[in-house]
Amino acid sequence: MISGGARVGQDGIETLHEALIPWDSEVESSTDSWVSGLKGRTFFATPPPRFGRMDPLSKLTVGCAHLALKDAAAAGSESVPEGIVLGSLMGCLMTDIHYYTPVCDKGLEHAGPLLFSYTLPNVAVGEVCREFRLFGPNTVISCGEDSALAALVVAHGWLSSARASTLLAGGVEAVDTRVAELCRGDSNADIRSSAFLFQLERRDEPLQPALPMMIEGASWFSPSGFSIERSADLGNTGMKRLWETLKIGGRGFRTIDVRDKEGYASRLKIFIDTEKHGSTTRHRTQVKRATY
């Protein structure tokens, strides 16, 4: 069951049960730089003391996790996540470059131990676990542009086999112009930072959803690749469609699938019934503008 969720993107922040809160200023760059300037107060009334020292991937992951947890609680969930599965194609590439460039320019003594600590994508997961006291199963997976969807598939499997009863899962991409240059050969290439995280709960009664339910998921690979353009949403390709599906509501099975040029593919089948239980979208009467 998808009991709550949040997304953070170039246009602002949004939860499954609340409307979009746009950023308070225009984001002009096509490869968004907003992710470098994220502040703790964007997400938290009282930001965690460590927030300012985190790398952009961790800030985005911790902030989005906080919103997803709040959203699930606001929707009536009393469950507490035990673990997290994160999907990311680019992982900590942005931090890798920021850590290693001064080393190349100025020498070994300019290697920052703190920044080096963030050159593993699962450290962002570690920050989430630390902040929200998740002691259970956790990992980061990467499988092309369906990384986030595949993370949901993994989480679905862990819930189904009772590895955990509640998990956070989704995808986070934190990129900037240097990552665009490295990966696409053009610093202006259209690649986007974004985060989508959901709180997923195990429910044994099938098709009696108070909230959308994940029914099944699968991932596979085509060695010859798929003839499609690379996506600007990187590992979060498919998340926007899942998000819109959940927001629009309706009744019945919905299938979200992603295929990428490399050959990675994932499919997630969900069941929604918002006609019976009401839309997952409730708009705030007062929309606050977010800051970054």
């Binding site: 080393v103 699962n122 630390r130 259970g136 990467s142 086999s161 490295l182 991932s219 690979f221 490399e262």
Partner: protein, 391 residues
């Protein structure tokens, strides 16, 4: 937690600082030989003296699976060597890894890190940098093998190999694939070594896991591969259970009490439907750093007291190969079961705590628990054992 069907380890492959082959790893460890050595091979200026576990140059002349890494991609090359052996020991051909019923799990911390190093060094992308992300590397392996099932990179820092083994075993046992190839690889890179220097986590001497005088780790490189499937016929060594956890404590420092690691060990034992007294040996993470090893000893005491099983660790012998480590340790566990032996922990001399055994000896029970911990507070444990009919 539902009990998972045990998954057969059909084949193992490895390339380590001892050279190519799981047997060279086993024999080196059994003989107590250290394969770490002084190293000064990085281009960056100002490096202090380092002791590392480097795969010997002689391996460079060996053929890797389907020519992997022929273009100079060292991670792909080492992976290709390990895959070649895993297939051979599984009595399989490349055809057996083709198609939609086969999954590939790649365990790595930095994958093709050379592309990032070159990019930062030259301040620009120099021509076609080729693969950049670990996902690119997994894609290359999957295309070369013609794998058509699930393909995933698992990034759980130094626990990646054990997490990948657990995820692959879960994938096989739940029927989501017929067979899984798990590959772990990381290469020696200035990027990683400089970072650990900055963290003051490297020893200038061969590492001494769990030793009273331990003072840091030796970075290394390696690759290992496992072929997993469920089989009713003559099951050999099995992945019997696994557990994952997080310390939720600190991103680089382990929980001093070892609570997270103990949690993952207990979860693995429960999943394997076994108890601590039925474990014949532990293959520990044992990096040789002060805090990791102390944390591990606390966790082992918490789970296994009053009688601790014998413990062995490989990082004093070959260095810490990060994403490959957990898989090498699984491959070693298979050899321990085969030879009914627990090898010495190379580099270990004296222990500050009572009750711990790091000297080799007979393996008295046919189950081994292998565990790893890593940055981000991640912990992972797998139970590897044999069925009653295995000889």
């Amino acid at each position: 937690m539902l009990k998972s069907p045990a998954v057969d380890i059909r084949g193992t492959g490895a390339v380590t600082p001892y050279g190519a082959g799981v047997q060279s790893l086993w024999q080196g460890i059994e003989k107590g030989l250290a394969a770490v050595s002084p190293f000064s091979g990085f281009e960056n200026e100002g490096f202090p003296s380092l002791v590392v576990g480097k795969v010997p140059d002689a391996v460079d002349r060996l053929p890797a699976f389907n020519g992997l890494g022929r273009d100079g991609n060292r991670a792909a090359f080492l992976a290709g060597i390990a895959i070649e052996e895993a297939l051979r020991t599984a009595n399989m051909t490349s055809k057996d890894l083709e198609g939609p019923g086969v999954a590939l799990f790649l365990s790595t911390t930095k994958g093709p890190i050379s592309a990032v190093e070159r990019f930062c060094l030259h301040r620009k992308r120099s021509g076609d940098v080729g693969m950049v992300t670990p996902s690119d590397l997994a894609g290359l392996l999957a295309r070369t093998l013609n794998v058509g099932g699930t393909v995933r990179v698992v990034s759980s820092a130094c626990a990646s190999g054990t997490v990948a083994t657990a995820m692959a075993a879960d994938h096989v046992s739940s029927g989501r694939c017929d067979r899984a190839l798990v590959v772990g690889v990381d290469i020696l890179s200035a990027f990683i070594v400089i970072g650990f220097l900055a963290l003051k986590a490297l020893s200038s001497r061969p590492a001494r896991p769990f030793d009273l005088d331990r003072d840091g780790l030796n970075p290394g490189e390696a690759s290992a591969a496992l072929v997993l499937e469920v089989t009713d016929e003559n099951p050999g060594p099995l992945v019997q259970g696994w557990g994952l956890s997080n310390d939720a404590h600190h991103i680089t420092g382990p929980d001093r009490h070892g609570l997270g690691l103990a949690h993952s060990m207990r979860a693995a034992l429960k999943n394997a439907d076994t108890t601590p007294d039925r474990i014949g040996a532990l293959v520990a993470h044992g990096t040789g750093t002060v805090f990791n090893d102390a944390m591990e000893m606390r966790a082992i005491e918490a789970v296994f007291s009053p009688i601790l099983p014998p413990i062995c660790g490989i990082k004093g012998a070959i260095g810490h190969s990060f994403g490959a480590a957990g898989l090498l340790e699984a491959a070693l566990a298979v050899e321990m079961l085969r030879y009914q032996r627990v090898p010495n922990t190379v580099g270990h001399g004296r222990c500050e705590q009572q009750g711990f055994r790091f000297k080799g000896g007979p393996l008295e029970r046919h189950r081994i628990l292998s565990s790893n911990s890593g940055f981000g507070g991640v912990n992972a444990a797998v139970v590897i054992g044999v069925g009653d009919s295995w000889q």
